[in-house]
């Protein structure tokens, strides 16, 4: 009758795996979807930093119940930041309908791509789980369909020379070393060494035709991106978008998407008719992220600066940059 109500979804919804109250929860939260009146309670028993047991209760539709059942299977043994990253991936899955092997049976919710009005049903258990982990007592899907934490909005500002050390640290944390593996932008398997250095960042911040855009909240800088004006094809003015980094723990929460949108807005304001960027060509996941936001591969490549350790120490010899372009 409908691909959303697949055999898998119906099975999980009927089985109500992980349904019921936990004996001695360490974390709990109540979630509500004001749109339909559904309410769900999530209780957790955490063992140190990891979820040892997950339980849910409440009355909800088949989509929410199946999601909660599947979620209980997925989160056992995982820590908060890992779960935050998975939440972002789940959100992408229901929006784009793309596959994500790491999400297991939750891939059944890909069908929600064609049911935007029902996405909140599947987001409700996630939002409630995230609230419980964050120590908040309640969660709502209202006005918050992307599950971004409304209690911590961020703001934009241009970087100043004083921000350089923090920017360098942010860029490194997003791409290099084990810390970056928390997020999905990591290049740890491709490159060692540094991604950039203080001198390089200071040079970019000081450029007169450039701008380093920062997104920050009360906890500090969440994301950065470099916006420059360059010559486009046929004498057009183009924007160049680079040095894009989001704090690994915040990835998948919509911060990056907002930074990209703000950068495009700024570029348009400067009269740019397109935005350009370069991406390491083997990073399919990253390229797909840009493609979902209107960027197209051009098949035009730039060599990777092998031998220049300012850009890192490659672990493989087939790296090159591909130019991506989006008309503004």
């Amino acid at each position: 009758m409908n691909s959303l109500y697949s055999r898998l979804v119906l099975e999980y919804s009927r089985a109500r795996r992980h349904a019921g109250a936990l004996g001695a929860p360490t974390h709990s939260a109540d979630g509500a979807n004001p749109l339909c009146g559904d309410a769900i309670r999530v209780e957790l028993r955490c063992d140190g930093a990891h979820v040892a047991e997950f339980g849910f209760s409440g009355e909800s539709c088949a989509v929410a119940t199946a999601t909660a059942s599947m979620l209980g299977d997925l989160v056992g043994g995982r820590g908060r930041e890992e779960i935050e990253a998975l939440a972002g991936r789940f959100e992408r899955l229901v929006e784009t309908g793309g596959e994500d092997p790491g999400l297991g049976p939750l891939n059944a919710m890909r069908a929600l791509r064609d049911h935007p009005s029902r996405r909140k049903c599947a987001l409700l258990p996630w939002a409630t789980l995230r609230a419980a982990l964050a120590g908040r007592a309640s969660a709502t899907t209202e006005g918050n369909p992307r599950m971004t934490d409304v209690s911590a909005p961020f703001r934009f500002r241009p970087a100043t020379p004083g921000d350089v050390p923090a920017i360098v640290a942010l860029v490194e944390s997003a791409y290099r070393g084990d810390a970056s593996r928390q997020g999905w932008t990591t290049e740890a398997d491709m490159l060692d060494g540094q991604r950039t250095d203080p001198a390089g960042v200071a040079e970019i911040v000081a450029k007169s035709d450039g701008l380093v855009l920062l997104a920050e909240d009360d906890s500090g800088i969440l994301a950065c991106a470099q916006i420059e004006t360059v010559a486009g094809d046929g004498g057009a003015t183009a924007g160049y978008f680079g040095m894009f980094s989001v704090r690994p723990a915040q990835q998948g929460a919509g911060v990056g998407r907002a930074v990209l949108a703000e950068a495009e807005r700024i570029a348009r304001g400067r009269g740019c008719t397109e935005m350009q960027m370069t991406v390491i060509s083997i990073r399919d996941e990253l390229i797909a992220w840009y493609e979902r936001r209107g960027y197209r591969r051009t098949g035009r490549y730039k060599p990777f600066p092998y031998g220049d350790e300012r850009f890192g120490i490659p672990k493989r010899d087939d790296l090159r940059f591909e130019l991506l372009v989006k008309p503004l």
Partner: protein
């Protein structure tokens, strides 16, 4: 009545509504969500289209030919609506964006200045949020409170309980003419009589009544009557507040701006008379021209015919739904419009609505902007099929067949 129904040619009526011939998910559309918004006949679509093609200009300002024609088309809609609700004069008809704006106008212009701490606003348990929240907002500013009158499990207002709550602290009563969830038709005349005897003004939310039954504000004896155009086969963003002339004269403007003034200076501004005093800014001109066409259309079909056809459909649909195992019907008032709220054991309303949609059947699911009523029944949501005179018994059969399919899948 029977003869009106027998003479009724539903195929001809359906041909007047272009959207009814479209398909959804490859199936013929079965539109059972008219209480949410009604579909629009070609006559309304044409009136809006023609206005923009041939007449478009601003109203009450321009002296050129188009301005005169636009003003005349717009104001003739007021005449039609005045007759439609049987107002004493056309000046009692204030154009609003819908029922919500109409009720807010009364809440802020009429009620707020009269409220003191401890005062009460009496409503019923079955009200739409539009007839609860505006009252709560003005009550919160003044220390007054909103009091609900109870209903029976079958969804009827308990009139004695309502009357018992009409004490001297009550500054206004607000009651829906027809419940959007239950279909219950409230005994407005009786309630108005009780209010009037105690000097308490009564506002009636007519959103769900106007499309289905004859509204006569003088016979009803209420003080304010609000209705919305988009449920009455007209465009969205249209509606009226009807109010007794003396109330409108005593009320200060709600919004300020152009069109509602007589003279403006920085020493002070004098306001136009009602209804223009309440119509600041350029209105939804084409929308009201379309609403005028909708009134013409309804009059042409005839409210008696509409009422008879819908009563027949309601009886048929009620029987049909009751035959579905595990189906619980909400609202079984003796006087009822063609609205059927229901739940099926083991099936969530949202799952039901999504699956019915796959069969081309549009129903609403959710709380229907009536949280207090959902709390009364102890459910978070219901599914609701709401019928109009363009619906058919075949469509009811399609609904029942699709429900059986859903039950097999989910229950």
């Amino acid at each position: 009545m029977t003869s009106a129904r027998d003479a009724f040619d539903v195929a001809r009526i359906r041909a007047d509504f272009p959207i009814l011939s479209r398909r959804v998910h490859g199936k013929p559309l079965v539109y059972l969500d008219s209480a949410n918004t009604s579909q629009k006949p070609q006559a309304v679509i044409d009136a809006v289209d023609r206005f923009y093609r041939e007449t478009n200009a601003n109203v009450a300002r321009a002296v050129h030919a188009l301005g005169e024609a636009a003003t005349s088309a717009y104001e003739s809609a007021r005449d039609k609506l005045a007759r439609f609700v049987n107002a004493t004069t056309r000046d009692e008809v204030v154009f609003t964006s819908g029922t919500t704006q109409a009720i807010n106008t009364v809440a802020y212009s009429y009620v707020l200045p009269r409220l003191s701490p401890g005062d009460e606003i009496l409503v019923t348990r079955m009200e739409h949020h539009a007839n609860i929240v505006p009252w709560q907002l003005v009550a919160a500013r003044t220390g007054a409170k909103v009091v609900p009158a109870p209903i029976t499990p079958s969804g009827e207002l308990i009139v004695e309980e309502f009357v018992a709550r009409l004490n001297p602290r009550v500054k206004i009563a607000g009651v829906t003419h027809v419940s959007n969830v239950l279909g219950t038709i409230n005994p407005i005349r009786e309630l108005a009589k009780a209010c009037r005897a105690r000097g308490i003004p009564l506002l009636v939310d007519g959103s769900q009544a106007a499309p289905h039954l004859r509204v006569d504000v003088q016979a009803l004896g209420c003080d304010f009557y609000a209705l919305t155009g988009h449920k009455l086969f007209g465009p969205t963003g249209t509606g009226i507040l009807w109010a007794r002339r003396e109330h409108l004269a005593a009320m200060p403007p709600f919004f300020g701006g152009g069109e509602m003034i007589r003279t403006v200076s920085f020493d002070g501004t004098t306001f136009a008379d009602a209804p223009h005093k309440f119509e600041a800014g350029t209105p939804n001109i084409a929308g009201f021209v379309g609403l005028g066409a909708a009134i013409d259309y309804v009059n042409e079909v005839g409210l008696d015919t509409i009422g008879a056809v819908e009563r027949d459909l309601l009886a048929y649909a009620t029987e049909a739904l009751k035959s579905v195992p595990g189906l619980r019907l909400f609202g079984e008032a003796k006087e009822k419009a063609a609205v059927l709220s229901f739940l099926i054991d083991g099936v969530h309303a949202h799952d039901l609505a999504t699956l019915l949609d796959q069969e081309g059947i549009a129903v609403r699911s959710g709380h229907h902007c009536a949280h207090p009523l959902m709390q009364f029944f102890g459910v978070p949501a219901t599914a609701r099929a709401s019928l109009a005179f363009y619906n058919t018994r075949d469509e009811v059969d399609a609904l029942v067949a699709a429900i059986a399919k859903v039950r097999k899948l989910l229950a």
